[in-house]
């Protein structure tokens, strides 16, 4: 397939993923999904999976709280996966680029919610005042879809289209040992993601479970599905013991 069409497909993927975040929310905007899909489009699913996993771990715990917009993983994943595929499956340049690239999407989303979506909102409220149903749908659904198609697809398309040249230029400039070092750093990035997750969950008396999980996987090599089964069991046990406690409290109150 022509690389122009491949790049266009990547641009459309960025739009679909961003719109999924605002619409059906099937979580296809997460790197773990976008990585392999981009890999599929570019003809290298394995590299896509590797990029998807690494970037997913980087952004594991970014939670959209209130109106603060976190770093954007969509364009970052698609473009950096294209970089990795252009580098012949070497993920380190893609990984190094992923973090800076995530700022682009963040800026675009800030612009979106503070400029053109404000405009479509105002037009929509005018349609509401007229009682114009078609107008409401047009300004709430059709118009944002069209504008976002341009705003998210075009930059992604351009970046993917020129990715081979960018990556070649980077490989020429950056020494090999530095690229290896980035790979080593990428292995440690997971620690930041997991620490962020622990911080955002913030349940103080749950630390023993952290040790149990660590013990199960490090010493007994239980895989994640096995650990999930134990997690379900622990939740069930605490629900039952909570119920028992409440019942005995009620009994004491009755006596």
């Amino acid at each position: 397939m022509n690389y122009l069409f491949i790049s266009i497909a990547c641009g459309l993927l960025a739009w679909i993923a961003q719109m999924d975040r605002l619409m059906v929310h099937m979580f296809i905007y997460r790197p773990i999904i976008l990585g392999p899909i981009t890999g599929l489009i570019l003809g290298d699913v394995s590299t896509g999976l590797e990029m998807g996993v690494t970037i997913e771990i980087m952004f594991l715990a970014t939670v959209f709280v209130g109106t603060a917009i976190p770093c954007d993983e969509v364009m970052s994943t698609i473009i950096s996966t294209a970089f990795a595929v252009a580098a012949g499956g070497d993920t380190s340049i893609g990984i190094a680029a992923a973090l800076p690239l995530s700022v682009i999407g963040q800026i675009i989303r800030y612009i979106r919610s503070s400029t053109y979506h404000l405009w479509t909102n105002m037009q929509m409220e005018k349609a509401v005042a007229r009682g114009d149903l078609k107008g409401m749908y047009f300004w709430h659904i059709v118009m944002p879809l069209i504008i976002n198609l341009i705003v998210f697809s075009v930059p992604t398309f351009i970046a993917v289209y020129v990715s081979a040249d960018i990556v070649q230029a980077l490989i020429n400039v950056i020494p090999e040992k530095l690229i290896d070092g980035i790979g080593v750093g990428a292995g440690m990035i997971g620690a930041v993601g997991l620490a962020m997750l622990l911080k955002s969950i913030n349940v103080k008396d749950a630390w023993p479970y952290l040790l149990i999980g660590f013990f199960l996987s490090a010493f007994l090599n239980v895989n994640m599905i096995g650990i999930s089964i134990i997690a379900v069991a622990i939740i069930a046990i605490s629900i039952y013991s909570n119920q028992k406690n409440e019942k005995s409290k009620n009994r004491i109150a009755l006596d």
Partner: protein
């Protein structure tokens, strides 16, 4: 005659399904000023079109929902369901104040956002994503089973939350409001989800974080690698310590995660050049 008309205007399951599908556009077009208010308006279209007759009443009802609204998109389904029940009551019996609809919405959007953000985005999403990642790593970056499982489970959770929110919100609105506001439901659920998350994060630590020290010692003729000695004592020790260090820097020293991400990359480069990481 009047009885018959009321029966025609009652909200049926079919209307609630229409309302459910309208919510697919809930967060589309949200701007910084009113956030999800336009989505709330379009979600209410099937309900308002059904229960009101005159155009003036409909416009009045739509305008009501253009007030600021911000919650978690899926958890908000409960709010839409409750608003549907209240609009129906206002239209048919006229025994509630129109302002009370927005009052209930404003009272619920905070707790629902907290519940949705912490459970869907703060716990389930990272957990299933982490499981998907470790499945992909375990397959040697070959199998797409993990990602597919992630999409299927997360979509199912989103749809279930929205479905039960809309339908139960309509049928048992006030009971649910009481349950959310009075009991420790929100706190209990986040606590349980958090406990499970800690267990799973402990499990992720070995697979998702790799730190290796390439030092080697020579004892007479045999070469002993420092890393294999460490793994013999406690596998994954360095990964766990690194997570602990990052947690300490984030919570106690208030260092931003983005800075720490770059710091990790920098440490990897320095470690590679200096020979203490590899």
């Amino acid at each position: 005659m009047e009885q018959k008309e009321t029966a025609v205007k009652r909200i049926t399951r079919k209307d609630l399904w229409k309302c459910f599908w309208s919510q697919m556009f809930f967060e589309l077009g949200n701007g910084a000023l009113k956030e999800e208010a336009p989505g709330f308006v379009t979600s209410m279209v099937p309900i308002i079109e059904k229960v009101y007759d005159s155009k003036e009443d409909k416009i009045e009802a739509y305008k009501r929902h253009t007030e600021y609204y911000l919650s978690e998109g899926r958890a908000a389904g409960l709010n839409v369901g409750i608003a549907a029940a209240m609009e129906e009551r206002l239209a048919l019996q006229r025994d509630i104040e129109p302002e009370s609809i927005n009052a209930v919405k404003s009272a619920l959007m905070g707790p629902l956002a907290a519940l949705g953000d912490s459970i869907i985005h703060g716990t389930f999403r990272p957990l299933f994503a982490g499981i998907a990642c470790s499945l992909v790593i375990a397959s040697g970056y070959k199998s797409v089973f993990g990602p597919i499982m992630f999409v299927v489970i997360m979509t199912a959770i989103g749809f279930l939350v929205r479905y039960y929110g809309t339908f139960l919100g309509y049928s048992k609105g006030t009971e649910i409001i009481d349950a959310i506001q009075n009991s420790g439901l929100v706190r209990n659920m986040t606590h349980l989800a958090g406990t499970a998350a800690y267990l799973l994060v402990g499990g992720f630590s070995v697979g998702l974080v790799t730190v290796k020290i390439p030092w080697e010692f020579k004892f007479e003729e045999t070469v002993v690698s420092f890393q294999s000695m460490l793994d013999g004592l406690c596998p994954g020790l360095l990964s766990m310590l690194l997570i602990g260090l990052m947690y300490f820097l984030m919570t106690k020293k208030k260092i931003s995660p983005t800075f720490l991400l770059f710091a990790c990359l920098a440490l990897g480069i320095i470690g590679k050049y200096a020979g203490f990481l590899g």
